[in-house]
Each structure stands twice: as C-alpha cells, then as structure tokens.
C-alpha cells in the first residue's frame, strides 16, 4: 500500500475554525481530482471533550460530499492518528483499494488550564485521582532519568532546542523560532524538573493522507504498521524509563523488515523525557545516552539519523488525535524529497512512532521510498 497524497494545515490556535472546517480544508486538497474513496477514517481525541460530536467520522465524511462512503471514527488518545493509519492498512489488505485518513483535533476551545486538566484524561485513573496536573508523571520520569544516569538539566534541554531549530523551516509548524538550550531552564516551571519549554504547545490541527493499494504513482510505500498495548501506569513498569509496548511493537516490525539504517524518524516527543525514552526503547541510543547523543548532533538533519525534522510535538505541535497523521504525511514527503521544511537528502527508509501517554499503547509505521 502507498501514500499518494499528504496534506497538512499549519498547527495554530484556529479560533475561527471548528473540527469540520479543519477537516474539510485538508480533505479537499487530498481528494482533488480523485473519483471517490472506499473508506474515510477520522482520527480525533480531545475534540470529543472540546467540541463534542459523536459518530464524528460519518458526519465529517458526509460534510465532504462523500455520501455513501464508509466512515469510521478512531479514538486512541494521543495515538489516534497512527491507530487510524494501522486500520487503513488492514482495510487496504482486505476489501478497500483507496482510503482517506483524516486526523483532526481541537485544543483551544477552552482556557489552557482547562485544556491541561482535560488532557489528564489520557492517563490511567490511578495516576489521575490526585488532580495533580498535566506533566507530573513526566516530571517524575525526567528526574529519575537525570538522577539514574547522572545527566544535567542543560544537557536535557538540547532536545527542545533541536526541535525549535527544525520547526523554524517547517511552514506547518506552530512554533517557528529557534531557542537556546539555556532558555528551557529559564522558562516557567511546569512539573519540576520540567518547564513549559519541555512540552508541546496547545494548538489545533488537521492532516490528511490518501492511501491506495495499487496507484500509478506514489509519495512513499507504507510497508507496515505495528502496535501493542502496555502498562497504563508507569508505577507498574519494571523499568519506568523503558517503554515496553513500544519495544514490543518495534520488535514485531523488525522481525519482518530490516529497520537498520533508517534515514528519518518522526516520533512522539510529548515531553523531552518521552523523546529520550523512545530513542532508547527502539535502540537508536543506548540506555542513559540519548540526551548526550541529541546534544552531540547525532539526531540532527545532517546526523546519523534525522529525528523529527518537522520540529516534533514540541515545536511543530501536537493536536492530540491528529498528530500521527502529520507524522506519516511528513515521513512520506521526506521519502519523496518533497517535505517543505528541512529535507533529509536521499532518505529511503522512515519511521513514525506514536504513543498514548507513556506507552499505554504504542504504534510504529514503517515507510519506504519509491523509485
């Protein structure tokens, strides 16, 4: 199966546009000159709280003029986007030949404080009952990482700095300005040792990809998507810094595909610590070494493997249920040499990695370039 179209909206505080407006903007471009689709999959998550609409997939499909198409709503928290892509892949292998996947989400219909409180719904009830605020678990994990591996706060700050440096060139990114690592430490504390600069901005967004089983031409091949569920509560992990569900999903994928020498990765850096945990859980860095590797430039666009050339969740933005669709769109465009921001020259293999929380579910998509 192949990605034949990839469309994104700039992530922003789109006060003037609702879920249907955002979805229509990307779907219209993705369907230009296309004679119908078999399925429309709509990935969304926080919109169910901020702009409630049940049977969202069908409502959006109809609003696009796709009367008679089959529509499915996909909600899997922060991983909704990649969950929809996985489901699209299964449909293409069985009964569909053309599937439109739309990721759309809304995070700005409420105040930031209200939105952060709503985002705690992504986590397990056991962690949640203290109303402790978004970021508390990430803060616990970040301190554990720094104390266990003896990594200082400034070294950790190279991740957000790299994300901002990359996003500066991405026209669809929400935060298009560079920051020095020192600025991360000076920002408002969120969940110490985490500051606001370690986490993603609150923005709305929509992205769409068209997937086809036998197209005449394509941006990239969607070789496979794997997934696994895992501990909903970090207290239950043998090692809270290891994302077991991700290692499992990645392992399933690498059994069937040669994932060595991947050129580009778009991964789920909901917090600085999440990025480091992902890099270490899929073996792109040794345990305890990811922060130093980031600081040394190993994951920059001209490094060993380009990680988040889009700017990642941190600076491109993280419209919760839509993010996975952005990631697949970005990787496909990189493999086609058409990404409008920092390009990964000659990229042949790409991964998109998405999680909910710290791995209550994990998804990995593997994409290959086409001639």
């Amino acid at each position: 199966m192949y990605v034949t179209r990839a469309v994104m909206e700039k992530i922003d505080r789109h006060y003037e546009r609702g879920v249907k407006d955002l979805a229509a903007a990307v779907a219209k471009k993705a369907l230009e000159g296309i004679d119908g689709v078999d399925y429309v999959l709509v990935a969304s998550s926080l919109s169910y709280v901020q702009e409630p609409q049940l049977d969202l997939g069908a409502h959006i499909a109809y609003s696009l003029g796709l009367r008679g198409a089959r529509a499915i709503s996909v909600e899997a928290g922060e991983a909704s986007g990649l969950a929809a892509v996985e489901l699209a892949g299964a449909l293409l292998k069985s009964k569909a030949s053309r599937v439109l996947v739309i990721g759309v989400d809304k995070l700005t219909n409420f105040t930031s404080a209200e939105t952060y409180a709503q985002l705690s719904l992504l986590y397990d009830e056991g962690v949640n009952m203290y109303s402790s605020g978004f970021g508390s678990v990430a803060g616990i994990l970040m301190r554990l990482y720094m104390e266990r591996y003896n990594v200082d706060r400034l070294t950790m700050a190279h991740w957000p700095a790299l994300m901002h440096a990359n996003a500066k060139h991405n026209p669809y990114a929400m935060l298009r300005f560079a920051i020095a690592p020192e600025k991360v430490l000076e920002a408002m504390p969120m969940a110490d040792p985490i500051t606001l600069m370690d986490s993603f901005p609150l923005g709305d967004g929509a992205a769409a990809i068209l997937l086809e089983s036998r197209p005449k031409e394509a941006l990239a091949e969607l070789a496979a998507v794997e997934a696994a569920v895992g501990h909903p509560n970090v207290a239950w992990s043998e090692d809270p810094l290891h994302i077991e569900s991700l290692a499992l999903a990645y392992g399933r994928l690498s059994e069937k595909h040669d994932l060595r020498e991947v050129d580009v990765v778009e991964l789920h850096d909901s917090f600085t610590i999440t990025a480091l945990m992902i890099l270490e859980s899929i073996g792109l860095a040794e345990k305890g070494k990811a922060a130093e590797a980031v600081a040394s430039g190993r994951f920059s666009v001209n490094g060993d493997v380009a990680v988040n050339p889009s700017g990642g969740l941190k600076a491109r933005g993280h419209p919760i249920g839509a993010t996975g669709v952005y990631q697949v769109a970005e990787v496909a465009l990189q493999l086609a040499g058409q990404f409008p921001g920092l390009k990964v020259e000659g990229a042949r293999k790409g991964l998109a990695v998405s999680l909910n929380g710290f791995g209550s579910s994990s998804y990995v998509a593997y994409l290959r370039g086409v001639e």
Binding site: V49, F110, A113, E114, Y116, A117, Q118, S120, L121, E125, G126, V127, N128, M129, Y130, S131, S132, G133, F134, G135, S136, V137, A138, G139, I140, L141, M142, R143, L144, E147, M188, P189, M190, A191, D192, P193, I194, L196, N233, V234, A235, W236, P240
Partner: protein, 132 residues
C-alpha cells in the same frame, strides 16, 4: 471539565483509596494498585492490603496543577516503592526543599479532591516523610 467525581464514582472506589487495597495475582503474585481485574500474566486476582511504608524513587514538584489543587500549589507527586509494588501518589507534609529521592515515606489518609458542581469530597491515601 475534569474527570467527573459524582457520588457513585467516589463511592465505588472508596475501598482501594481509603485502605490502600490493591490486587494480588493468585498465580504469579504480582501486586497492582489501583487493583486490576486480571493480572498481566492472565491469572486471577484477589484483594490485598498494601504495606503503608515505602521509599521515594523519584518525584516532581508540580506547579501547573489543576484548578482544584491550585490553592495548594506546588503539589509534590512521587513514585513510591512499597516493596511488593510501586505507586504514584501525592507527597504531603514536606516542602519541595525537604523532598529527595530515596527518602522513607508512609501512608496517611487525606482529602484528595472535591467536585465543584456536586460538592462531593473524595478522600484517599497520600504519603508523608516517615516519622521516626
């Protein structure tokens, strides 16, 4: 809008929140808090009361706390090793300067929240620095 704490929701979780009751697998012995319906090995579970003393593994000082906790901000959240399992819980009766990884803590019964609309007050277990 937050997680809704209506009277039935608060009532049905009282046991594990009031008494620190978790689940223990009858097959492999794995302990979980809050309790689960099945062990991750697939085994059946029974209720078990957890030890009330443990060691702080790591913690976070949370400033951007929810509205209902904001008057107490910053709130300290900790990952606590109880030996048989670990839990994430709030740390009380300690200032941010006093808290450190590795310190001994013990369970105390405290108010954990109130629903603004229904006025329902929820109580539960928190941890404080071990006395003596």
């Amino acid at each position: 809008m937050m997680r809704v704490k209506t009277p039935p929701v608060v009532w049905r979780s009282r046991n594990h929140r009031y008494k620190l009751v978790g689940s223990k697998c009858k097959a492999c012995g794995e302990v979980r808090f809050p309790p689960v319906h099945f062990c991750s090995c697939g085994g059946e579970v029974e209720e078990v009361e957890l030890p009330r003393a443990g060691r702080l593994v790591s913690y976070s000082i949370v400033y951007a706390a929810d509205e209902e906790s904001r008057e107490r901000s910053p709130v300290i959240m900790g990952l606590i090793d109880l030996g048989v399992t670990r839990v994430v819980a709030e740390i009380v009766d300690a200032s941010p300067e006093e808290v450190h990884s590795g310190m001994q803590v013990e369970a105390v019964f405290r108010r954990i929240g109130e629903d603004g609309e229904t006025g329902v007050i929820a109580y539960g277990i928190k941890f404080r620095p071990a006395v003596g």
